[in-house]
């Protein structure tokens, strides 16, 4: 079926070189969403060990409070910040805010929905995520 329809398939989700930063944001949004979901489930499992007493909890801490653990946590912080910030941009966009006003297009056509405001928000989301990650790393390794 897929073959017959000449669908691009999952690799068609990315293509930032072809379509620019908006497409990258789209893909990051997916990736961070899934990443967060995985972390979230893991986190619930992690915290559930508290019910098994201090020993179990500390065993879990030993497992997670490692360098790898901290790096993963930092990535999660980054993902969370990007997903949140970009999510807010998307929610506004989906409501029709910041996508431009309809009007006669003049050649050469530059779509109004692909605008600086949105691009800046995406860059800002990525920037914030990076900052948050650094801050997180600082907190976690800073002791």
């Amino acid at each position: 079926m897929e073959k017959q329809e000449n669908k691009e398939g999952i690799k068609g989700w990315l293509n930032p070189g072809r379509y620019g930063i908006e497409r990258f944001a789209y893909w990051l949004m997916r990736l961070t969403g899934i990443g967060l979901l995985v972390y979230f489930i893991a986190h619930i499992y992690e915290t559930s060990t508290i019910l098994n007493g201090k020993a179990a909890w500390e065993k879990m801490l030993d497992l997670t409070q490692t360098t790898e653990g901290h790096i993963i946590l930092a990535i999660v912080i980054g993902m969370c910040v990007f997903h949140t910030a970009n999510g807010i941009r998307l929610m506004l966009g989906h409501g029709g805010i910041g996508v431009g006003k309809p009007g006669r297009p003049d050649y050469p056509y530059t779509p109004r929905s692909i605008n600086m405001k949105n691009k800046l928000c995406i860059y800002a989301s990525i920037g914030l995520a990076a900052l948050a990650m650094m801050y997180g790393l600082g907190v976690m390794f800073g002791e």
């Binding site: 006669r104 003049d106 050649y107 050469p108």
Partner: protein, 570 residues
């Protein structure tokens, strides 16, 4: 065994005329099964390229009158129009403009919210109803989208009709090929409307879509219907180089100038009253004269051209009202019309001639109507005014759609289907063309044929050129080009291309013979050897009937009601 399907009404051609007919028929009866057949996908028909406007009298409450529209049309036609037909066009079209408006047409508006109109060549008032400069495109969209309301309209996208089947009196069906898989079909039906559009691709420098070949005309011609007035080919003054894409007359309607090498608005010498807004035949001749006398520019592609200057109109107006040609000019010539004049040259644009019909669009074969550019109901005579063609398509689309339904509803006695004709057609196209043999490249033959037409039957014509052209055409026709190298069934455009070329030969021949026979200059047909109009000998239409040897030419009277032919001056 040949595959067979059945409808009540088939409409071949899905331009403005075909789609308007489909809606008229579907609206009249929801019980009638309608098929719209098109060799391109329905909404891609050539009509989308129409740019400038649709003529109609909308402001009778302000200045305009229908009477004036009628007279302008007849005068524009150099008095070869059938006057009752022109009257029908002008009285019917205002309603159609409103109907399109009600169906969602994005007409450009005046500040007060009413539909706006612009100036166009040959009219006494601004009468071209417009939607920026994409009139045909928006009309096609409106009609295509409105068709979606009706469940009894079926689109056969990319089906190539090859012949009309009849029993000598009455229409019975057609044969067609479904391009996506190459299946050959007979389509039986009670009535048919031919709206296959113009055939301007018999010229190589042409504003037409690449699909505007004469297959529809040829189909009717082979089936015994007459082609009328084919010698009248309109050359639009402003095609851009090198592609021949049109710069709409609306550009001059909005105030554009034509300039020669000396920066002079030369039209003052040819039509001082109307200047650039004289009818197209006059402007095109003026341009050819300017270039022939050495006052043209030399374009880098090697041909001469003149300049269309829009700079004084201003960037904002150009963007607002001429956005399409701005896009074309920027893209294809790298010229922004707001800062630089555009290179233009007269270009094949419209065929006044077509399948002979009466005022109702009925052809000589019972059950077949023709509408739009493929038809010749003689509304345009020897020269069409700009913006009157889309009007014609819409008006006769509706008329023929309704009449065809009436005809079907009256009931038609059933007759045995002449299967031998289907066999003969299958032989013609599969044995004669698909499995044909030869070593001459058909595409090169096509190029030579269209170049010959450009060379020998352009704006100015004369006996020597025309006969030389005819001779060349026959030589080309007899070469071994009728073969199809692509043997696949699926989407075989090589096959359809060769069939198109086959039809071009027959129709181009009629154009040339008609032009040779008409020893006068009238409207678009300008003979340097007979430079004046001759109402004594040539105030008649030309009919051409098919014969395997050579077309049989006849005369047909012009209907004159109120307006006696007078000298045509602007």
């Amino acid at each position: 065994m040949v595959n067979s399907i059945e409808y009540d009404l088939i409409i071949v051609g899905s331009g403005l005329a075909g789609l308007r007919a489909a809606i008229a028929a579907a609206k009249k009866s929801s019980k009638i099964k309608i098929a719209v057949i098109s060799k391109v996908q329905v909404m891609r028909s050539h009509s989308v390229s129409a740019e400038g406007g649709t003529a109609a009298v909308l402001f009778e409450d302000e200045v305009d009158t229908i009477e004036s529209h009628i007279y302008d049309t007849i005068k524009g036609s150099d008095f070869l129009a059938d006057q009752d037909v022109a009257e029908r066009l002008c009285t019917e079209i205002p309603k159609e403009i409103l109907q399109l408006e009600h169906w969602g047409m994005p007409w450009s508006r005046r500040k007060d919210g009413r539909v706006d109109q612009r100036n166009f060549g040959g009219y006494s008032f601004p009468r071209a109803t417009y939607a920026a400069d994409k009139v045909g495109f928006f009309e096609m969209q409106t009609l295509y989208d409105t068709c979606q309301k009706f469940d009894n309209i079926e689109f056969l996208n990319e089906w190539y009709a090859t012949s009309i089947i009849h029993d000598g009196q009455r229409f019975l069906g057609i044969t067609a090929i479904e391009l996506s898989n190459g299946t050959f079909y007979t389509i039986k039906a009670k009535a048919m409307i031919i709206s296959t559009g113009g055939a301007g691709r018999i010229y190589s420098y042409s504003t037409y879509a690449l699909s505007s070949t004469p297959d529809g005309l040829d189909m009717a011609y082979r089936a015994g219907m007459a082609l009328k007035d084919m010698e009248f080919v309109q050359f639009h003054p402003t095609g851009i180089l090198p592609s021949g894409i049109l710069i709409t007359e609306g550009a001059r309607g909005e105030g554009g100038y034509l300039l020669n090498k000396d920066g002079e608005r030369f039209m003052k010498r040819y039509a001082a009253g109307k200047m650039e807004l004289a009818p197209r035949d006059i402007v095109s001749r003026a341009m050819m004269t300017e270039m022939n006398e050495g006052r043209g520019f030399h374009h880098e592609t090697g041909v001469d051209c003149l300049k269309l200057d829009l700079r004084h109109i201003g960037d904002e107006v150009i963007k607002e009202k001429l956005g399409g040609i701005r896009e074309i000019s920027l893209k294809f010539s790298g010229i922004d019309p707001a800062t630089e004049p555009i290179d233009v040259r007269p270009v094949c644009h419209y065929m006044m001639g077509g399948i002979h019909t009466n005022i109702d669009g009925a052809t000589e074969l019972q059950g077949v109507w023709a509408a739009g550019e493929a038809a010749c109901n003689s509304v345009h005579g020897s020269n069409r005014l700009g913006a009157n063609s889309t009007s014609e398509c819409i008006v006769w689309g509706r008329i023929t759609g309704e009449l065809a339904v009436d005809y079907i509803q009256r009931g038609i006695p059933s007759t045995p289907f002449p299967l031998h004709l289907v066999d003969a057609e299958e032989k013609r196209i599969y044995d004669g063309i698909f499995r044909g043999r030869g070593d001459v490249n058909p595409y090169e033959i096509r190029q030579e044929l269209t170049d010959t037409m450009n060379d020998k039957a352009y704006v100015y014509r004369n006996e020597t050129d025309l006969t030389a052209g005819l001779k060349k055409l026959r030589e080309l026709r007899d070469k071994m080009w009728k073969h199809v190298d692509d043997k696949a069934k699926e989407y075989n455009t090589n096959f359809t291309n060769v069939m198109e070329i086959d039809s071009m030969f027959r129709v181009a021949e009629v154009v040339l013979i008609g032009a040779i026979n008409r020893r006068e200059s009238r409207g678009s047909h300008a003979r340097t050897d007979y430079p004046t109009r001759d109402d004594v000998n040539f105030l008649h239409h030309t009919l051409a009937y098919y014969d395997p040897k050579e077309p049989i030419m006849r005369k047909h009277p012009v209907t004159i009601t109120k307006y006696k032919p007078v000298e045509r001056k602007y």
